[in-house]
């Protein structure tokens, strides 16, 4: 870890450090995240330029450059990678030691910037003696709405997060999921353009998680820009495929998962194929897996094949394949299956998930 903090950066300036790739948001072409048509002079919604932040001697965020205009962006990274610090910097609770952050051209620390930002913090502390409705309403009035307007907005956001019917109880007795909803509700009050959500999905049971994901999609469809940090990579993948990966205080890569994965040329795809049963009589008493492995090796894009031990309780044999050029490989695999009558119980690319990409990137960093 220490070598990471000081060495690789000196010659590179502000380029985000990745394992050999440099993707910043506006370079990528992605239909979901195409820029909203804005005048060229309009300031981007969020602009972080070479932002660094220390906590005493420990570096929290290291030379982060990020630009957001619309859509949902997931911020992922291991615990302690600096996600929360970055979000606090963006929402103006911390000030960068180096670099600057602007929201619509205003410095993030300023009041004007906060009018554009809704923040759902990680903390779990509220004004515990209030009811959920009272809390949201006072937050609305602190935004400067009149009593009537505040009440209207409170009802609207409570409805939206699914708390309208149960916001009367005191916050003290709320479960984790209800707290998350209230936190989200207060962030939506002043209808901000940029929503910064720190771990909104943690501690929520599966049902709630689905509702939230739906809600986030709706918000994005309304033209909001969402920056969501989460460990729940699987959930995040359902929500968006535009992610920013953080590691050791840096943004390691920005882009869609597939884009990032495809640029990792030095790591061929790792695919696991479980084949069921023994082979037919004409091939002798050979395992089906052996036959498949032999067939796979003949394909152009396959770099290597490995037979794994079958799990004790199942009647399948796993085969591990390393392949380049995924498009062509899957095409040929389909033909192989259809022509040679394999029964595939599982076909899984092990390392194109966000998590796997994350793993590669991190290893690239620490190497």
């Amino acid at each position: 870890m220490p070598d990471l903090l000081d060495s690789p950066d000196s010659g590179r300036g502000d380029r985000p450090l990745t394992a050999g790739l440099d993707l910043s948001f506006h370079e990528t072409i992605n239909p979901n995240h195409s820029l909203t048509v804005a005048a060229p002079t309009a300031a981007p919604l969020l602009l972080c330029q070479r932002v660094s932040k220390w906590y005493g001697p420990v570096i929290g965020v290291n030379q982060v450059t990020l630009e957001l205009r619309s859509g949902i962006t997931g911020l992922v990274g291991a615990n302690g990678a600096g996600k929360s610090t970055l979000l606090r910097l963006i929402t103006g609770h911390l000030r960068p030691d180096l670099g600057c952050i602007q929201v619509r051209g205003w410095d993030a620390w300023s009041t004007e910037a906060r009018q554009h930002v809704g923040y759902c913090p990680e903390t779990d502390a509220f004004y515990e003696e209030m009811s959920g409705r009272q809390f949201v309403e006072s937050m609305a009035r602190l935004c400067g709405y009149s009593r009537r307007e505040a009440r209207k907005r409170t009802e609207a956001v409570l409805e939206r997060v699914g708390m309208a019917g149960r916001a009367e109880r005191r916050l003290r007795g709320y479960s984790k999921g209800m707290r998350q909803r209230i936190k989200l509700a207060q962030a939506l009050l002043h209808d901000p353009e940029l929503l910064v959500l720190d771990e909104p999905l943690s501690g929520i049971d599966p049902v709630g998680r689905w509702e939230f994901i739906r809600l986030f999609r709706d918000l994005a469809a309304l033209g909001k820009c969402l920056l969501i940090s989460s460990h729940e990579l699987e959930e995040l993948e359902k929500l968006t495929d535009h992610i920013a990966i953080m590691a050791h205080g840096r943004i390691a890569a920005v882009g869609t998962v597939a884009q990032i994965r495809d640029r990792l040329d030095n790591h061929p795809l790792l695919i696991r194929i479980d084949v069921r049963g023994h082979s037919h009589a004409e091939h002798g008493n050979e395992r089906e897996a052996r036959r498949l492995a032999a067939a796979l090796l003949k394909l152009r894009d396959v770099v290597g094949v490995e037979l794994l031990d079958s799990p004790p309780d199942e009647s399948v044999d796993p085969v591990l394949v390393r392949a380049r050029n995924p498009q062509r490989f899957f095409q040929e695999l389909t033909h192989l299956v259809l022509e040679e009558w394999y029964e595939i119980a599982r076909l899984e690319t092990l390392d194109d998930s966000t998590q796997a990409v994350l793993g590669y990137l991190l290893r690239g960093c620490s190497a």
Binding site: T91, H93, R114, Y119, F126, E129, M139, L142, G144
Partner: protein, 334 residues
């Protein structure tokens, strides 16, 4: 004199609120003023919800008032019933009578009688009017000024920001679109009804319970109590913005440093708030013979100077606090 002080205080608070209003309006449009007003109202309410603290304060005040009321009912605020020699001899009132009798018997010349009558009347007068002096010394200076006043200020002023920081709920205020100086000053304004109410109101109640001398004491001393409240509140409030454990820092200041500094000989004591408060009081009641025990050591300043110092201190501390609060990055306490 008192009219002018009163007028000055009134003007000060008006201009203070005016400056706040202008600040809030100037920064961004009308709705921010409304938000600021709501912040004041909300913070005021939230202080009330720290119920343990309010109950202890009110209980303490009630206890003190009840005690004073009992003493008043017993006529304890005068020296009539004091005895000399201690605890055995006749009371001072009896002495006064006796002096008069003895003197009238001993000398019968007209001029001598006149002098003696005057002397006896003076003794009697001092004994009768001793109430105010005793109430001032024990009730006001000792009980109120050196304990209740700093304690009320300390508990409410450190809790205003310190409590929010301790419960990690400051983040909600800071993520609203309100300028940070406005948040700081808004919470201070919300704090004032509590500290002023408890201190001035409490002082009023205490004096009301004190009967005749109490009434006089209130008339003379309230400007000093007001000024001291403002100064103490702004100081302890500043500690809330600065320290992790403002209450402990404040208690060290109020009950240790103030006591030590305030009783130091020479000019050292001039950095304590209590000194100026007492100066204002001595100045106000000088016509009634209230003065420091050793004026040559105490070295009091003029009442108006003391008032100016206290008000200036308040404004300076608020300014410093605003700057500190606007620049500090508040982290959650784990």
């Amino acid at each position: 004199m008192y009219q002018s002080i009163f007028f000055f205080c009134f003007l000060f608070s008006l201009s203070f609120l005016g400056v706040l209003g202008v600040l809030a309006v100037r920064r961004a449009g009308l709705s921010q003023t409304r938000a600021w007003c709501y912040l004041v109202w909300l913070s005021w309410q939230r202080q009330a919800r720290a119920s343990q603290m309010v109950w202890i304060a009110v209980g303490l005040l009630a206890f003190a008032v009840a005690l004073v009321a009992i003493f008043t009912a017993m006529g304890a605020w005068s020296m009539h019933y004091w005895r000399w020699p201690y605890r055995q001899g006749p009371t001072f009132l009896q002495w006064a009578d006796e002096i008069q009798i003895v003197m009238s018997v001993r000398d019968s010349s007209a001029s001598g009688q006149g002098v003696q009558a005057a002397l006896a009347a003076a003794v009697r007068g001092i004994v009768e009017h001793s109430g105010f002096a005793i109430f001032s010394h024990w009730g006001v200076f000792l009980l109120f000024l050196s304990f209740l006043l700093p304690l009320f200020n300390l508990s409410f002023a450190t809790e205003a920001l310190g409590g929010e920081r301790e419960s990690n709920s400051l983040i909600w205020l800071l993520s609203r679109p309100l300028p940070r100086p406005a948040i700081y000053l808004g919470k201070f304004v919300a704090l004032l009804p509590w500290t002023l109410g408890l201190n001035l109101g409490g002082f009023g109640l205490l004096c009301l319970a004190g009967g005749q001398p109490g009434w006089l004491a209130f008339r003379l001393y309230w400007p000093a109590v007001l000024a001291a409240t403002l100064a103490f509140s702004s100081l302890f409030y500043l500690m809330g913005a600065w320290f992790r454990r403002p209450a402990v820092a404040a208690i060290v200041y109020a009950f240790f440093l103030e006591v030590i500094l305030g009783n130091m000989p020479g000019y050292m004591k001039r950095i304590s708030i209590g000194f100026y408060t007492r100066c204002m009081m001595f100045d106000a009641a000088s016509a009634f013979g209230i003065q420091p025990e050793r004026p040559d050591i105490f070295l009091p300043v003029e009442g108006t100077t003391a008032l100016a110092v206290l008000l200036g201190l308040t404004i300076a501390l608020l300014g410093i606090g605003t700057v500190i609060f606007s620049r500090t990055q508040y982290q959650e306490i784990v």
